[in-house]
């Protein structure tokens, strides 16, 4: 039981910062440190680099640079998009449409708005985690001001029919926000073609630094500020710019889009091998999420009769880092709302494992996981009073 081996398969939780990205950030800590709002040379030389980063982000998603606003991450972008557009359009209506499988940054924000007098429809999903465009259409009322649906789910990887929803929203004249925190860097996005009005992203999901993200806001979208204060970000998001973070985000998104096809192909190959190996070698196992319309890096399973945290800890003892939507990892009593939403009973949802692959993972890593995982699952099942009954 050596812990010398360290295999990271939790890239959907966060990634390391790519060395090339860090390299580009470093001078902005110690050498180019002026405040970009300052008019002196120290400020001007920094401002230029923020503009470059903004262009890189814009280019990666098909937006204009002036439509990109930097935030402290995906959560702030989600909070801003939803609260900002809800309050800005209160006179038009008070109804918001979202889904039951959104990230908490969206769900808890919507729940907060409910307390403030907004009405929210939480659309269900099918057993693959897919929202139906017809459901969206039927949920629209003349009070609807915002549709917010995630691009791809963080737990089960399912990718939503964004373009169809965008078209529908445009046809109905309703704003469409998408939480693309898991999608950017893994999926080709074009906000104009897909009729996306607002889009959230976060650098630490694609080898950029933690604590920096962006909100794309289509020109013309009515949105009030969320962070009030100084005139940064053209008066729409206050706070001295996180310059190294912004530079890092710019570099990371450029790198990620540059090698998107290539890296998706490679990771999909690894992921398919992993999924196939698990499904073939471990009985009573389900693959969560859509079989095809899913993020390349996402492998999400439920192993019946065992609980996710003890599975994770055993994997960790063997040097493998994954994650689980098990209640025990979150400190709550209910397992992940996403797993319940796709129709899994509680006892099965408790036994989930997400392995999310990344740049550093190799075939050997997958082989190693395929070697140790069946043993661990079996060990835990042997210990499980639920499993007795099955064998018996």
């Amino acid at each position: 039981m050596s812990t010398a081996k360290r295999i990271y398969m939790d890239h959907a939780a966060t990634t390391y910062t790519h060395r090339e990205v860090l390299q580009e950030m470093l001078p902005f800590f110690t050498d180019y440190y002026g405040n970009p709002s300052s008019i002196h040379q120290f400020g001007r030389e920094v401002k230029k680099n923020i503009d470059i980063a903004r262009e890189r982000v814009a280019k990666a998603i098909g937006a204009l640079p002036e439509e990109i606003y930097f935030t402290a991450g995906g959560s702030e972008a989600d909070n801003w998009a939803i609260k900002g557009s809800a309050y800005a359009n209160r006179k038009k209506g008070n109804h918001i449409i979202t889904s039951v499988i959104e990230h908490h940054a969206v769900l808890h924000t919507c729940e907060y708005l409910e307390k403030e007098g907004f009405e929210v429809t939480y659309l269900p999903v099918d057993r693959f985690g897919m929202v139906s465009v017809e459901d969206v259409r039927n949920a629209i009322t003349d009070k609807t001001i915002l549709i917010t649906l995630m691009y791809a789910n963080n737990e089960i990887g399912t990718i939503q029919p964004i373009e169809e929803i965008g078209r529908l929203a445009k046809e109905k004249g309703i704003y469409f926000h998408t939480d693309a925190v898991q999608a950017v860097g893994s999926v080709k996005i074009d906000v104009k073609q897909q009729n996306i009005d607002m889009l959230s992203l976060s650098a630490h999901k694609f080898y950029g630094p933690k604590g920096i993200g962006a909100l794309y806001v289509r020109k013309g979208v009515k949105l009030i500020s969320f962070l009030h204060g100084g005139a940064q970000e053209r008066g729409r998001r206050a706070g001295t710019e996180n310059v190294p973070g912004i530079v890092g985000l710019g570099k990371a998104i450029e790198l990620a889009s540059g090698k998107l096809d290539e890296s998706v192909a490679r990771i999909t190959g690894l992921r398919d091998k992993l999924v196939q190996g698990v499904m073939e070698n471990i009985p009573y196992t389900r693959l969560n999420g859509h079989p095809e319309k899913r993020l390349a890096n996402n492998a999400s399973f439920c192993f019946e009769y065992i609980e996710g945290e003890s599975l994770l800890l055993n994997l960790d003892l063997k040097g493998v880092a994954g994650s689980s939507g098990s209640a025990c990892t979150s400190g709550s009593l209910d397992p992940s709302h996403v797993l319940l939403a796709i129709g899994l009973p509680h006892e099965i949802a408790h036994g989930s494992l997400r392995l999310s692959l990344g740049e550093i993972n190799t075939e050997a890593d997958v082989d190693y996981v395929l070697q140790i995982l069946p043993e661990i699952v079996d060990k835990l099942r042997q210990m499980s009073p639920l499993y007795e009954k099955v064998k018996g």
Binding site: I306, E307, E309, L313, S326, C328, S384, P385, L386
Partner: protein, 124 residues
């Protein structure tokens, strides 16, 4: 997160398994909540001479099961009934706050097994 003691019991749980013809069996918790503990007792002359457990649950659930079985093995029924969740937590050098309920479950599982033993005795 977990103390070394918890991890030690989690990695090498003692007394895992079942006992055929157990004198008492207790099962508490439910799959819905993600924790089930089942304890098997072998009792001779009011002394717990053997004990086994099976647990479906998180790291803390497994570790508390393991240490609880150790703590009651060789004890009399009355002594075993004194086992508190607090003693279990202390024996493990502490548990994170959200996991304390696992120690409660362990205490309850022991008590349920002893109750079952007593019931069986009185029916004899």
């Amino acid at each position: 997160m977990y103390s070394e003691k918890v991890m030690e019991h989690f990695s090498n749980p003692r007394n895992v398994g079942e006992l055929e013809n157990a004198d008492g069996v207790g099962e508490v918790g439910n799959a819905h909540c993600g924790d089930i503990m089942k304890i098997y007792l072998k009792v001779e002359n009011d002394v717990i001479v053997d004990v086994r457990f099976k647990t479906f649950g998180c790291g803390a659930a497994i570790a508390t099961s393991s240490i609880a079985t150790e703590m009651i093995k060789g004890k009399t029924i009355d002594e075993a009934l004194q086992l508190t969740n607090k003693a279990v937590v202390e024996a493990l050098d502490g548990l994170p706050a959200p996991k304390v309920h696992c120690s409660v479950l362990a205490e309850e599982a022991v008590k349920a097994a002893i109750e079952d033993y007593k019931n069986k005795q009185s029916k004899k």
